[in-house]
């Protein structure tokens, strides 16, 4: 086990939570987007979180994002006949996301980020102490 391995574990979680926050921000920003390059309304994106493979000698480990996937649930239909993207029946296909739910996920990601920042600081303090033995 390397002296700074634990710091990298916490750092991997910081990057992953940052990615989650970015993806959630993108979802919220596109909550009303009815037209995308791929056609149709914006689809909600989600980060797939997996445990990072640990080296048998006690290498990095930690957490990683296996990818960002699109939520395949159907778009939300909203009645708005004056909308340029309304269909023949007057319904507009809106993104399949719910802003309050995204806000809850954002808070969860923020708290997890803070948690891992604390874990990072705690380990850093211990390592500083052992390095003081050299003084």
């Amino acid at each position: 086990m390397s002296l700074f391995g634990g710091l990298r574990v916490s750092a991997s979680a910081l990057s992953m939570e940052r990615l989650r926050m970015n993806v959630i921000a993108e979802n919220i920003a596109n909550a009303e987007t009815t037209r995308t390059a791929a056609g149709g309304p914006y689809r909600r994106k989600e980060v797939v979180v997996t445990q990072a493979p640990g080296d048998p000698r006690g290498g990095d480990g930690g957490v990683q994002a296996a990818g960002v996937v699109q939520d395949q649930s159907p778009p939300r239909l909203q009645y708005d006949p004056s909308h340029p993207d309304a269909n023949a029946n007057g319904y507009v296909a809106m993104p399949n996301l719910d802003v309050p739910l995204e806000m809850v996920d954002l808070m969860s990601a923020t708290r997890a980020y803070e948690l891992n920042a604390s874990a990072f600081a705690a380990q850093k303090q211990s390592q500083e102490r052992i390095l003081e033995l050299l003084a």
């Binding site: 086990m1 002296l3 391995g5 634990g6 710091l7 574990v9 916490s10 991997s12 979680a13 992953m16 939570e17 989650r20 979180v49 997996t50 445990q51 480990g61 930690g62 957490v63 969860s108 990601a109 997890a112 948690l115 891992n116 604390s118 874990a119 990072f120 705690a122 380990q123 303090q125 211990s126 102490r129 052992i130 003081e132 033995l133």
Partner: protein, 127 residues
């Protein structure tokens, strides 16, 4: 050379290694707080260290004390959440803080021991 490789130094080293492994395990459990199906792990070494110390307190036992390695176990009470993740954030933070304090105490003791050796080596003029 028994002053540097004695049982006290060995016990301090083993405990420091164990606490470092524990902090890493806490970091890993906290990093995976949102990983579905993740089972947290804990580090145990105190009982083995105690047993090695109780086996005798002569210089020759320093090796058996130093040979104690931190072991990773998973003794969680099972998944606590619907996504199968068993990480208890509060428990991990408590373990991490406790380990941090233990580590600080062990480092102080080791520094003190080295200071004593230095004092002896320089006939008390090393300060």
């Amino acid at each position: 050379l028994g002053y540097v490789t004695d049982v006290t130094s060995a016990a301090l080293q083993t405990a420091l290694t164990g606490q470092a492994a524990r902090q890493r395990a806490c970091a890993e459990n906290l990093a995976n707080v949102d990983t579905p199906g993740y089972t947290p792990h804990r580090i145990v070494f105190e009982e083995q260290l105690r047993a090695a110390l109780d086996a005798g307190s002569r210089e020759s036992d320093a090796e058996s004390v130093r040979a104690v390695r931190p072991l990773a176990t998973t003794d969680s009470p099972g998944p606590l959440r619907r996504d199968g993740n068993g990480v208890d954030v509060e428990q991990e933070m408590v373990n991490l803080s406790e380990s941090q304090l233990q580590y600080a105490a062990l480092t102080k003791l080791l520094a003190h021991k080295y200071q004593m050796l230095k004092s002896v080596a320089t006939e008390g003029a090393g300060r």
